[in-house]
């Protein structure tokens, strides 16, 4: 399978990329790592006139500390994110999810920002980003703006990144010392999640003080299981207590039906996977 012909631009700065994007209008696709875009181009689900490759923009890569946040450049690869001590210490649930993304070769090329903007609801990084209250730094010709996680994912493959804009970084509030686990349910090891749950938990004296739960593939966007988060507060980190608190995990969701499972099947999975994720995150 061969993509339709396109013009290729490889700017070396964000400013040049924005200028190229402005000139191309909606005939352009932005290429980060290409691990989702290239299959789409090959299958000709999309046939842009221009492809703007961000791969040669140094300033978009890297992970750094900024006060109470960890800042991850948009084209930081999964592999680099996995190797990051900062993420391990302050945003462990994101790393746990990245471990489950596709396979080693894809993780070498695939980027965090690329996946977030692609916004496949079955992708693995949206739910942990949401659970961690990540802020999204979006840059356009008018400058930078920051969008909260709750407003970033808008619909199937749709985010707050507008025409002529780029996601340039994400800012993750530090969750230092929080337990974490990403529970992914799949039939084949390196495939997309049928359902998955990102849980990050702060335990104090054997009971849960705070909980953040993100759901993968339970709707057209990643979702927060807010009812479960509230129900978990003050609960002992035991199987029985957590089971009860997680019963409402599918509440307010609208999961898809496909060859991997019906919507009802996914609704039945969600509380079970949530319980497993919470218990593992709480170290129980």
């Amino acid at each position: 399978m061969i993509p339709a012909a396109f013009d290729y631009l490889a700017p070396t700065s964000v400013a040049d990329a924005l200028a190229a994007l402005a000139e191309a209008g909606d005939d352009a696709k932005v290429l980060a790592g290409g691990q989702s875009l290239l299959p789409i181009l090959r299958m000709r689900l999309s046939a842009p006139e221009k492809v703007i490759d961000l791969g040669r923009i140094e300033e978009l890569r890297g992970i750094r500390e900024d006060g109470d946040h960890i800042v991850v450049g948009a084209t930081t690869t999964y592999t680099d994110a996995l190797a990051s001590d900062l993420l391990r210490e302050h945003a462990a649930v994101l790393q746990d999810a990245i471990k489950e993304v596709a396979d080693p070769q894809i993780r070498r090329r695939g980027t965090l920002g690329g996946a977030l903007v692609h916004a496949d609801p079955a992708g693995d990084v949206g739910a942990p980003a949401l659970a961690l209250d990540t802020e999204f730094v979006i840059t356009g010709s008018a400058g930078e703006r920051t969008v909260a996680a709750a407003d970033f994912f808008q619909d199937l493959f749709e985010t707050a990144v507008g025409e002529g804009e780029l996601l340039t970084a994400i800012r993750i509030p530090k969750h230092t010392g929080w337990g974490a686990h990403y529970e992914k349910f799949v039939r084949v090891s390196h495939q997309w999640s049928i359902v998955a749950v990102a849980a990050t938990i702060r335990v104090e004296g054997g009971s849960i003080a705070e909980a953040r739960i993100g759901l993968t593939n339970m709707g057209s966007t990643p979702l927060r299981a807010t009812a479960v988060e509230s129900a978990l507060v003050g609960v002992a980190a035991t199987d029985e207590a957590v089971r009860e608190a997680c019963a409402a995990a599918a509440e307010g969701t609208n999961p898809p039906s496909d060859l991997n499972g019906s919507a009802d099947y996914r609704r039945a999975l969600a509380p079970i996977l949530t319980r497993r994720a919470v218990l593992a995150a709480a170290g129980a």
Binding site: M1, I2, P3, A4, A5, F6, D7, Y8, A10, L31, G34, Q35, L38, P39, L41, R42, V51, D53, G55, T79, A102, D103, P104, Q105, I106, R108, R109, S189, H190
Partner: protein, 168 residues
């Protein structure tokens, strides 16, 4: 057309390519490295795995223009002076191939697994190879070959239920 310069198996090539050309097509059709095969065309099977700047990638999921200025190593570039790479030797000795179609990608990925972690457990080897499919399902000897190169003496554990004639 875009001009790219790519080092493939130690030799520098400079070519005009269409931006839409995939790296695997460039390697096979422009450079002539047909040892890198196309398996699934969907980025699933890993048969087209090569090293890009020393790290494994699926060459059907990279554009040739993205490799401009970079270094590619294919299955044809890992033997030195006619001497097989230790991983190639181990695949031979452990009978780690049946039809052989997945072998170029398996070997490149197996080398990458050991570059990352020189002494992996059996499970780490299997997880490291999860992006490479063998449709002969000959995974067992592939894992053995990787263990041989890693210098592990412990035999590969039999999958549950595979022990012929013994029921517990």
């Amino acid at each position: 057309m875009t001009r790219i310069t790519v080092t493939v198996d130690g030799t520098s090539y400079s070519d005009e390519v269409e931006p839409r050309m995939l790296l695997v097509h460039y390697l096979r059709e422009a450079v002539g490295k047909t040892g890198t095969v196309i398996g699934c065309d969907t980025s699933n099977c890993g048969a087209c795995t090569v090293h890009l700047d020393g790290r494994s990638v699926k060459s059907c999921n990279v554009l040739a223009v993205q490799a401009d200025g970079h270094e590619v190593t294919t299955i044809e570039g890992i033997a030195v002076n006619g001497e097989l790479h230790p991983m190639q030797k181990a695949f031979h000795e452990c009978h780690a191939l049946q039809c052989g179609y997945c072998t170029p990608g398996m070997i490149l990925q197996a080398i990458d697994v050991l570059n990352e972690n020189p002494h992996p457990s059996e499970e780490e080897i299997r997880v490291g190879l999860e992006g490479n499919l063998c449709r002969c399902t000959g995974y067992h000897n592939i894992v053995k070959a990787v263990q041989q190169v890693a210098g592990q003496d412990s035999p590969v554990e039999q999958p549950e239920g595979a022990t012929a004639g013994v029921q517990s």
